[in-house]
Amino acid sequence: MAERPTHQNQSEDSAETREDKRQKFQDLRKLLLAPEQKEIDALRDRLDNPVTRTEDLSAVVAESIELRRAHGGNAELNKALMPSVEEALRESVRKDPSVLAGALFPVMGPAIRKSIAESIRSMLESFNQTMEHSLSAQGIRWRLESIRTGRPFAEVVLLHSLVYRVEQVFLIHKATSLLLAHCVASHVSTKDPSLVSGMLSAIQSYARDSFKAPKEDTLESIQVGDLEVWVVSGPQALLAAVIRGHAPASYRATLEKTIEDIHRDFGRALEDFDGDSAPFAAAEPLLEHCLESHYEPKTSTKRKPYVAIAALAALAVAVTSLIMSVLNDRKWNHFMESLQSQHGILVTSSGKEHGQHLVRGLRDPLAADPSVLRDKEQIDPSSVKFQLEPYYSLDDEFIEKRAIEMLVPPHDVTCTVKDGVLSATGKAPSDWVRKLKDRGPLVPGVKKVDATQLVSTEASETEMLAAALKSTIFTFPIGVAEIEPEQEAKFESAAELINSLLGKVAPLSQPLMVEVIGHTDTSGTEGLNMSLSQQRAEYATRKLVEAGVARRNLVPRGVGTAEPVRNRDATGDDRLERSVTLRLVPAKSN
């Protein structure tokens, strides 16, 4: 029984003890685990507190996105982020468009500029080609074609200078024959591409059925006039390019690469295609890349100016040479006229030989020099050759020149030729006169020499001296045979005169001497007068010999009154009769 209360007590005690124990346990736990507990509390706090959690996440968010991407979670990541990003962009634009515009500006600017530049370049190219072709005959033909077909002229020009141009590209869904995407070059008129696409497919089917070709085979090309349609086929879609002109074979590779790229990028869309072509709008840049064009190389058009310049240059050269030729001809004709008008030159023929003028004929050596005439006309010396043989002109002018050249007349002599007769006038030394008489007739062209008008220089001097001698007179007083002393000097000058005269005459063939003639007046007897006159003559002779005259050249002779001086002097002064006079006479031959 004791046990019960005990048990009761025990249970009360144990209740206290449990409480106590728990407290103790708590204390113990605190003692043992306090540091860990603190850490747990701190961790809980970090997990529950959004502020700290955000801080923690911020440290790893970038790394975790990268990790996810690296593990191939691109699509999911994009899908998860896209709505937020789009919304954020929308919100940003709504709030302040300038922020996004500012961010995009460096991208948009160049893109827009490139697009505008491309448009302008294309326009200029078209304009240039139009200009180049506007004025030619071909240009006119093309303009007519433009009027006829209603196409703009620029387009007609482009079409004709085209090697090839891809005008349209169709992306066609094979299973439905529906058009997925289409692009067209500028200035190309098209029909509804979805119908063209359908017809292309129909034609494909038609060809395949008609020739029982396998289903996977496609018609690779269709040619209509200068248009070709090239078709390349992929598993789901085919690409058809409409080409004007002849594209190189390498272009097919471009198409094949494009259809491959389209299958790679749009594989799923192609499989799921149910008539909605919207997803394939993104394929249009790939198609546009196929819109190649190739025009005639510029060189062919640039060649034209060179041809024109060359033609102009050739024309200029031709015109210049024509003008030069005309001028040269005129110059030449003028030269020939003046050459032929020259005395002493006879042109027998003229012509051209090896590009050179050749003049043949005769020329008197005394005629004008043809090369002087040539230079006067400013004719290129190398363009002319003269073959002029020498000859003697019988023209009086040339005979005269020739005579003058050969005879060399003295200054006082003038030579003239008339009708072949050479006449000389003037004074000439006797030896030249002799030369004239001897050689004159030998001058070519001279028929006769006339020297009658020619005075010998020596003869005229002798005459003059003779005249002086004749007028010399020595007068004497009446009845005296000695001269008055004031007349002594007269003998000196008389002796000089005599010597000079005889010296001049000496070369002449006929020798001369001087008579010293004594005279008297008529008073007195004849005998006395004769003796006196003789004395006077001898006296004068003596005096002259004294003055230097050789005795042999003097002949004293008394004449009395026989040869009165009065006859010579009309003064009538008889004083002159009592005198001695001098006279030139031929020397007596021994």
């Binding site: 094979k174 529906l178 979805s194 119908l195 017809m199 129909a202 034609i203 089917s205 038609y206």
Partner: protein, 164 residues
């Protein structure tokens, strides 16, 4: 843009081409029928608030479906089966054609048109026929390319069936 390929089926002279001509302005001449056996036209329509381009393949009708170019049907989303209501034989032909087509295109919706309803006096298709076909689940309409009766409606109905 949503596009659907639609074929016009039916034997010669039941009025398929006239129906198409009534429905669209064509860019191709009818000569295409005799050259490649098909003429293609397009009609934009609005069905169930959606813009839809109907690309119509008007296939040259032949009396024997065997010679019809089955490849022309590939990818079609629907077809108009046309018979001449004034000629019973064409109705039978149409039924045969449908049977053949259904082998390959069982799920492709179609509308059966009894054409030339303007020629009431010569009408041979009895009301029983229409009831029978309706019982099969077919949509049967009476049309006239001449008056235009039910032409637009037929295409619209087909459009709605295709977009269901």
């Amino acid at each position: 843009m949503l596009q659907k390929k639609i074929c016009m089926l039916g034997t010669t002279a039941v009025g398929k081409t006239s129906l198409v001509r009534r429905f669209v302005e064509s860019i191709y001449s009818d000569d295409y029928h005799t050259t490649v056996g098909v003429k293609i036209d397009k009609k934009p329509v609005r069905v169930k608030d959606k813009d839809l381009d109907m690309v119509l393949w008007d296939i040259y009708g032949s009396d024997e479906f065997q010679s019809l170019r089955i490849t022309y049907l590939n990818g079609m989303s629907g077809y108009l089966l046309v018979a001449d209501g004034t000629r019973k034989s064409t109705i039978n032909d149409a039924l045969n054609i449908q049977e053949s087509v259904a082998k390959d295109f069982a799920k492709v919706p179609f509308v059966f048109l009894l054409n030339k309803v303007d020629l009431k006096d010569e009408w041979e298709a009895g009301p029983d026929l229409e009831a029978q076909l309706a019982a099969r689940g077919w949509t049967v309409m009476r049309s006239s390319a001449k008056t235009g009766e039910a032409v637009e409606a037929a295409f619209h109905t087909l459009g709605e069936k295709m977009l269901r």
